[in-house]
Symmetry: D2
Subunit: 368 residues, 4 copies
């Protein structure tokens, strides 16, 4: 269990890194949604390996095939299934891992839980599983856009970027940053000077057989007021689950996050001021766009922490599957820092949560 | 929607701060579980207001009534419904709030979403809703204990404590801290010297009409290997959702959390070493007890950030429900710092997640 | 598990026949629904025992208490919890059943599954559990009404009646039968002459220590086109589940039902004819208002079979809980025929399914 | 929504009759289940068209491809995705249907609900969608077998057969009928003389441009005691939903079903008698193997009604999509009677329900 996400816009992903294919089924997509397959492919292209020298050189075209639910460029109301075939599966490259547990990987826990670890490339725990999420997220984005058009509201803008790599931190204005700013550099850090610095620490880490972590920051602008379903399906709770379900994530924040704990109520409270459109707005946005688990119309701001990539090429102490001490020296291709490729995945998860809550919210719009 | 939590051990809470009652229904509790009602009441007593001068003076005995699902001290397999009547509902005390939106409260968002805010005491967004969670969590704890006994495993120990209030931080050894250590001081900080300091900053904030936030740290010891359902229902993802669904939470971490982002892979990876019982253990525990979304048998370590209480008695700028600027000066009783009372609620949510995943995991134990 | 029903309008029932209370929690009720508590009580009154000499003389007032989710006569968007206290719990009356399994009751299966049967009055398997369903159904009916008003559509009319008792069958015109027609006679059969006959066979069965079954027929008029979610949540599939989840049901039909199997396609197909309002209508309605799992705007017609009451006062062969042969002679109060009291329960379940599907359907109404 | 089924053994189907593929994703399959792909293919072969002159001549090999979740012949605990490519998609054959609504088909309701009917071959409402169910059911059967072996219980035997075609009824001994008996004749009626008669009425209907319906009867032997989750997920309620979610079904019965309504309690009650293995058994089995929503260890007996195929080649009155009266004369290939091909689909749905409830039941087996 555990391979579905969402209540009213629900996705189910399947597939392993080195099996026949990875994919996703979306249930609950409204009928008659115009679906631009190029936008789906574009998100997958942002995620795929081999984009730059910063990422793994494993080369997969990752072309998506839509198997169902779309006809004549529009959704039919039936489930949308999408598939990406696995290629370049050099499973021999993983033979040396068959007998050892890689530190801070899922090898041991999958083996302990399921009793038959899929060794090659991490199997289901591989980041390759996120292909289905990204494809689904690209559908969610298009639903959000279409709903905005249909209801005469401004388009929701989801922008994630690399905010920090190791100790290198960017300064980015979340009110103005654009997706184009993010795409300008392979690091996906829109702060150009910092991006250069990030590149150099990532390359140094690679040369050193080491790896780095960091944070992805997300802003969502034009969020409608009223998304979120207290008490358990608060907007930030569903976002937390969405992002903490990604491989390698170790922390999540909304608004001022952990820093809020060192502020006083007087400093942290977001004073209301009359808004131009009659809607109350807030002078500050420490809340990060959500109060009481429901969006308040301010920018939704999130931060997600990714640990350093577990695969490193330096030798590491570990044990064999028989429990004997050994030393592992990883071979094969891997990202010294997953942050740049994590950005489109974070975008996708945020879009999925917003699409789900948009549909769940409809019930309250019928009665006067 | 959004008032249920869990897949195989599923709770549904109901009730508002000033309505007739708050409560919870648990579905999926195994039959024949011996249920000690005093243990449930004890957890509610840890949560209730008026415990010490650090907490709100609102006085509610919060006696739980079990309505169903238990007979002769054992669960019957039918849903367990529990009720706590509301008392001391001075709804007049909230009259001055009827026309204004309190900053960083749920007033505005509930009004915008539902169109009819329950004014008195915050309604459904009140921390009083967590009574149902705590009662349910106390059942979950008893299920975990009974399963441990039945399967001959050590009892799972869940210990949460106040780790930080404002800028005051405790030093606590997570390997040894006990529930008794936590209960020793009204702050629920087991570091006695720091607890004194926390008390004084909380009292200063109260005198100053201000409020403070902080963090709760949790350790779970004796977690069985194999809990967690990738890819979406990873153990840390479900914990993140559980904790971020609590009122006032702004951040969540597992293991080294955000700090992991400034470590390199070489530093962060948890080297495996042969364990005494044949199970591989790890030399460090940066992962926080979970790898690939599945518990690895090491201590599960979490940290949850709570913002400063939104209710302060200093004057604040805000708007009326008609959107006009005004100044609010809150009256009524409230906690200047929710952290001490948050501890049993965090314990409860962690227990609920573990109980759910314990049941979900059973499927993999039948086949050889 | 298994105590919740519905996807977007979701109820969870709890309580046993002789515990403290029975009740229900509704999640997903749209905010701002005007709720007439008298309409809820009225449905409960239709269900309660002691209404006439045809039903059990167990006398329970069954007054409903709304615990949450309603303020000022309107729903708040929070879960609606409703409670009915148990009274008249002569559990001593069931002492003689403590050691035997009553034939065709749930005694043995509950015992085998849960290991601790709630003996008195059948516990959770008692028809008393349906109180929560009826209260929830009465809310669903009011939601359907309010949605019809809000969208300018005619009010959905759900009418169920006793169609058959033992071999006595009614002739009722489903196009015109009204709830008032149904309530005219304690049998809830609107065919007056047949109702008299039913009364006399039921009383004869009672005198004879025996019991009778029968069928309830349901027509729903003014069903909007488009309810139902293929492929698994077809409208008739969810109705089948709803009705087959009632105690004592053994069969379910939609439209011509089993009789359709003896017709040819030429006879059974419902020819389309141009409708007065532009909507295609059908010349016949063998389909029973649903085609491809989706309502087509014609009358929805259902039939549900109830077995004869398992409790009879004649002696019966059975075994003790130790597995030894014995003879049982039931004491206590019971209905010789559940059909009259089943009618409001069937109404409730149908309303719940329609309310759920009405909410699920909203997603398809946003895009042009 | 509505394309998933099951709680703990959950399937999601996708695909239309004339799109790229149909398929299914299974979540919750226990790890380490040995999976015989030939058994899956064998069930699909029982379902596929072109098996005999009784079924449609549309010829599709329907070879299943397992995309994920299986390695080295065993399940990995990850979702099992299976795909069958569509072939032989002569969509031109359906051009004449583009402008009319076929009577008693899903054309009109899909169009009304989704606004963009998938015309060719019925799209999602096509029986082709059931391929995913049959493949999933074949996995469920293997899980049930493996669990029986692992727990030392007898193998559950699910046997469905054609019980009635039009007015031709079989006499089959449900205690002894075998899958081999069912497969002996293309009608899937194990009563040889009656099978011949069925063949001749089906062929007559085809010649006459007409179609026939009928019933499928199912017996399940060696059902463990204790399956079923009252109150909503009673075993018979989930079976009713499963079977009423199949295309063309109009009725469902368990045990004596509708006939029970004409029996008295004294006749219908199943007297308990001491069983050879200590388990109480019943002298009769009017209950059909389920009491109080839970299996009692007796044979589970079901009957499902299928209407006559909606596609007939005789001319029919209908309307165009613009609402004008017209006459339709269907072309193309179709089954004059779906009953023979319905048998493996019914088997599959029953297996899915039993597998789900087997997993849900595990929780009650841990505590003493």
């Amino acid at each position: 269990m555990g391979n579905s996400f969402g209540h009213s816009f629900r996705i189910t992903t399947f597939g392993e890194s080195h099996g026949g294919a990875v994919g996703v089924v979306l249930d609950g997509v409204p009928a008659r949604l115009e679906l631009d397959l190029e936008r789906i492919q574009a998100q997958l292209d942002r995620r795929r390996p081999g984009q730059s020298r910063l990422t793994t050189q494993r080369d997969e075209a990752d072309r998506v095939e839509v198997l169902s639910g779309v006809e004549g460029g529009r959704t039919t109301g039936a489930p949308v299934a999408m598939l990406v075939r696995n290629a370049d599966a050099r499973s021999g490259a993983y033979d040396h891992l068959r007998e050892v547990y890689r530190p801070s990987h899922a090898d041991y826990t999958y083996d302990a839980k399921f009793g038959n670890r899929t060794i090659a490339g991490g199997g289901r725990s591989s980041a390759r599983e996120t292909i289905g999420r990204v494809a689904a997220g690209a559908v969610a984005m298009q639903m959000l856009d279409a709903f905005a058009v249909a209801t005469g509201k401004p388009r929701i803008e989801i922008v994630s970027w690399v905010d920090q790599v190791h100790t290198v931190r960017a300064e980015v204005d979340e009110r103005t940053v654009t997706p184009e700013d993010v795409e300008r550099d392979p690091t996906r850090c829109p702060d150009v000077a910092v991006a250069r610095e990030m590149t150099s620490v990532i390359e140094a880490a690679r040369r050193d057989g080491d790896s780095l972590g960091g944070t992805v920051r997300t802003v969502v602008r034009n969020v409608p007021v009223g998304l979120g379903e207290p008490v358990f399906d608060r907007l930030e709770a569903d976002l937390a689950k969405a992002l903490m379900s990604l491989p390698a994530t170790k922390g999540f924040e909304v608004g001022t996050g952990f820093h809020a704990t060192t502020m006083t109520g007087r400093e942290h409270n977001d004073a209301f001021v009359p808004g131009v459109d009659g809607r109350p707005t807030t002078r500050t946005n420490h809340s990060g766009g959500v109060q009481g688990g429901i969006s308040n119309g301010e920018h939704l701001t999130l931060r997600t922490a990714f640990k350093p990539t577990a695969t490193i090429s330096s030798p590491q102490d570990t044990v064999t599957v028989e429990g004997e001490a050994t030393t592992l020296k990883a071979k094969g291709r891997h990202d010294p820092c997953v942050l740049p490729r994590a950005v489109p995945i974070v975008d996708a998860m945020v879009a999925l949560v917003l699409a789900d809550h948009t549909l769940r919210q409809l019930r309250h719009g019928v009665l006067p």
